[in-house]
């Protein structure tokens, strides 16, 4: 049986198919399919609480890998973690002077993260970035984009958005619907393996 796939984008595969025809295997989704006798893969819920560079990095590595492995992956972003998902171009956020002052003291955006130790006024993150490029390690921003492309859902915490005076237009594209603690507890006690970073 030959079926048309709407996700087919590869010109090389098209060219080969034009000559040879599509292979006659059944189309199966990538995210998937437990082998017979195996338990179904559980979902993954990462709670991204920290805005520190090293922890955001860990979150993005695990989220993108989990998405790549076909595991249904959600990242609940709350408190300092929410600052990470504000657009890099936003310098000042908030509706009143206290919220604005918080954003001035701690610049939002995934490309402006600080290390929790050895920050040295930005020298630490700068050296980390240089080392990462040298050793072919993807930046948190690249991993975030890969995770989103692989279907990882990033859910902002509504309470934190209110507290910091963040509006949906302050946030990066592709964020999920804001939710709260009950949603998180429901996932934790349901099908998701929880991870708090």
């Amino acid at each position: 049986m030959i079926t048309e796939s709407p996700t087919r984008l590869d010109p090389l595969a098209d060219a080969i198919a034009a000559v040879e025809g599509w292979p006659e295997a059944e189309d199966a989704p990538l995210d998937a399919m437990p082998a017979e006798g195996e338990a179904k893969t559980r979902d993954l819920l990462i709670i991204d609480y920290s805005g520190d560079l090293e922890k955001v990095w860990a979150t993005m590595i695990l989220a993108s890998t989990s998405g790549a492995m076909g595991v249904k992956t959600r990242v609940f972003v709350t408190f300092w973690g929410l600052q990470v998902f504000v657009k890099d171009s936003k310098r000042v956020t908030g509706e009143n002077w206290m919220q604005r002052m918080l954003s001035v003291m701690q610049r939002p955006g995934i490309s402006h993260r600080k290390l929790s130790k050895m920050n040295f006024l930005g020298m630490g993150p700068w050296m980390m970035g240089r080392l990462a490029r040298q050793y072919g390690v993807a930046s948190p921003k690249e991993l975030l984009e890969a995770a989103q492309a692989l279907g990882v859902e990033f859910i902002p915490c509504q309470m934190t958005m209110d507290l910091f005076g963040l509006k949906p237009e302050d946030m990066i594209e592709g964020m999920g619907e804001p939710a709260g603690a009950a949603t998180v507890i429901g996932m934790m006690t349901g099908d998701s393996v929880p991870l708090f970073i």
Binding site: L30, S64, G67, A68, V71
Partner: protein, 78 residues
């Protein structure tokens, strides 16, 4: 042994974890079932990671070879 048609080749040389896996998964999404992907990587961790990824996603690791510190994997999309 029949010649395996490679639909797409991914050059992940010089890239660290988790990029070889992430790039493979992204490529797989664009391919048909039965298509074969060639992954070339230098990340030593990819020896274990590619096998783990194939087990988790149900894709088939057809072949795994190495030339010094360069690893080559042939993976068939299920």
């Amino acid at each position: 042994m029949p010649v395996i048609e490679i639909s797409q080749s991914i050059d992940a040389r010089g890239l660290s974890c988790p990029l070889p896996i992430v790039k493979t998964a992204q490529a797989m999404k664009t391919l048909r079932s039965g298509a074969t992907v060639e992954l070339i990587a230098t990340d030593h961790g990819s020896i274990k990671d590619v096998a783990a990824w194939c087990r988790a996603t149900g894709n088939i690791l057809l072949e795994q070879t190495s030339d010094g510190a360069v690893y080559r994997f042939l993976i068939r999309r299920t």
